[in-house]
């Protein structure tokens, strides 16, 4: 039970951080109260986890065989990595941290599903690129429809506000479906949890993070998106949701933050403006290498630390 707390803690921090990517715009622009957004996000995260979270769990649990201690070590290593990367303001991905942790343990076990790892890494690279492409297509198609409707100021306002709430709910669903594996897949792999319990515990812990600690992140990160015009902000949330949802079907947990950056970049391409600083893109690249590496090292160090034995007389 105590080892499972490490997973719950990871889910909690994931919910606290990633809720900003789904409802940040709506909350920061005060079109939706924080509590309404938090309830909607938690509900849809749980729904996404329960209905479509199994594929990601299958992928992660098959990366290597884990004992219960090792599973807990993976979760703690991922949580510590996320904290360190956040301190250094790098766009951290919980998915990369979890896989890094599993990788570290698999080096000790000398057992790694290379094919599975290849699939995961390819999807990481594809997340921002895919989100950018989806954002470009969505922008062009929806802009044509939006302009064609010839709505007045109040109608455009209502349509955009309602769409942002619907898109936020869909993005929450996609977040639950995609990221629940990060939280409890290692415990399924270790044989501690059944698939359904893992999905339920994972979904609930992400929801707990959203309800208890996402307010400040939602308001600060959301404000960056609000600087985009409302239509572009809608496209960003939708493109992010579709990208993350597609990876939920494939069964690879990816970073919602990186999907958001990709989508913002895509909107910039359509509008012919620079929406993402070069430094942010460089930070993503650094994060791709550093996050799994740091998590792997922490996992190995933690594993050795908990297996240290006091041997009197030696």
């Amino acid at each position: 039970m105590i080892s499972l707390l490490a997973g719950v803690f990871l889910g909690w921090s994931l919910g606290a951080n990633d809720a900003s990517n789904v409802f940040g715009t709506a909350v920061a622009s005060r079109m939706l109260r924080f509590w309404s957004a938090a309830v909607l996000a938690s509900l849809f995260v749980l729904l996404g986890a329960l209905l479509q979270g199994h594929a990601g769990i299958e992928t992660l649990k098959d990366l290597t065989r884990l004992t219960l201690d090792q599973a807990a070590v993976c979760s703690v290593a991922a949580a510590v990595t996320v904290t360190i990367m956040t301190v250094f303001s790098l766009p951290v991905s919980t998915s990369q941290a979890v896989v890094g942790g599993i990788l570290g343990i698999s080096l000790l076990n000398r057992q790694l599903n290379v094919e599975g790892l290849g699939k995961v890494v390819t999807c990481w690279l594809g997340t921002p690129v895919g989100a950018a492409v989806i954002a470009i297509i969505l922008y062009k198609v929806l802009a044509a429809v939006y302009n064609g409707l010839n709505m007045n100021l109040f109608q455009t306002d209502s349509v955009l506000r309602l769409s942002l709430i619907v898109a936020g709910s869909y993005a929450s669903y996609a977040l639950g479906a995609n990221n629940v594996a990060n939280v409890t897949a290692v415990f399924v792999g270790a044989g501690k949890l059944s698939l359904f319990t893992a999905l339920l515990v994972g979904g609930l812990s992400i929801g707990l993070g959203i309800m208890t600690y996402s307010r400040r992140v939602m308001e600060t990160v959301g404000k960056r998106l609000v600087r985009l015009d409302p239509f572009s902000a809608l496209i960003v949330v939708l493109a992010e949701a579709i990208t993350v949802h597609l990876y939920a079907f494939i069964g690879v947990p990816v970073s919602t933050s990186q999907a958001v950056i990709g989508a913002v970049l895509g909107v910039g391409v359509v509008k012919g403006i620079e929406t993402v600083r070069r430094r942010t893109l460089v930070n993503i690249l650094i994060g791709w290498f550093i996050t799994p590496l740091v998590a792997a090292l922490i996992a190995v160090a933690l594993y050795f630390a908990i297996h240290l034995q006091y041997m009197p007389g030696h």
């Binding site: 622009s29 005060r30 079109m31 109260r33 922008y139 802009a143 939006y146 302009n147 010839n150 709505m151 007045n152 100021l153 109040f154 455009t156 306002d157 209502s158 955009l160 506000r161 309602l162 609000v226 015009d229 409302p230 239509f231 572009s232």
Partner: protein, 224 residues
């Protein structure tokens, strides 16, 4: 769910927005009344009649301008009560502030005439009438343009061009009146008094032009 049912759901979801919409129409109606009172009062002053009716109409202009101000404040409060997107809130507030400058000019002109007991010389009256007629025409077009922004965004661009032409026309008339005033044998003090009043009147079409361009920008911003 039928069309009627869907409309009811939509109205329930956007109740505050509907309230703002209705208040804006009421605000515009009050501006129209203010403009009518101003026009009637000015007509009396041009007939050299600064009697009780003129004073009454000046007060009526002030009263409706104040009422419009109160409505604008109510709209602002409602908007800060989490209705509308921040961008829309900002656009509406800026627009209403700019429109509001016009009835303030109405009041200013009437109080100028009343407090300074101005007598407008006959030789400038036809041009002043023309200036006021074109300026008030522009103001009415501006109100219509604002209404189209909230009802249907059609025909806004055509109105921008007309209001812009009116503004040039008013500038031209204004310069002509001021020249004729300074060419006349009037007392220098009276010349300066009249110059101030004509410049103030000219501000109506200038401000109408600014409002019209603002409406156009708001419309353009909503095209993606």
């Amino acid at each position: 769910m039928g069309l009627h049912g869907r409309n009811r759901v939509f109205r329930f979801l956007f109740k505050k927005q509907r309230q703002i919409e209705l208040l804006i129409y009421s605000y515009l109606d009050h501006l129209r009344i203010t403009q009518r009172r101003f026009s009637e009062a000015l007509k009396l002053s041009l007939d050299h009649n600064l009697s009780g009716t003129f004073v009454f109409l000046t007060e009526q202009t002030h009263k409706f301008e104040s009422k419009a101000d109160d409505i604008r404040e109510e709209i602002t409060n409602l908007m800060y009560g989490k209705a509308l997107l921040p961008e829309s809130r900002e656009d509406i507030m800026t627009l209403l502030e700019e429109i509001d400058a016009i009835p303030r000019v109405f009041e200013q002109v009437l109080y100028m005439i009343r407090t300074q007991k101005m007598l407008i010389p006959d030789f400038v009256i036809p041009d002043i009438k023309k200036l006021i007629s074109v300026s008030l025409g522009s103001f009415e077009l501006t109100l219509r343009q604002t209404e189209s922004l909230f009802k249907r965004g059609k025909g806004i661009r055509a109105l921008v061009a007309t209001i812009d032409q009116n503004e040039s026309k008013c500038d031209h008339i204004q310069r002509r009146i001021i020249t004729s005033v300074f060419d006349s044998d009037l007392d220098p003090f009276q010349k300066l008094q009249l110059k101030d009043m004509i410049s103030c009147m000219g501000e109506i079409s200038d401000q109408a032009d600014r409002v019209s361009k603002r409406v156009n920008i708001i419309t353009m911003k909503r095209r993606v």
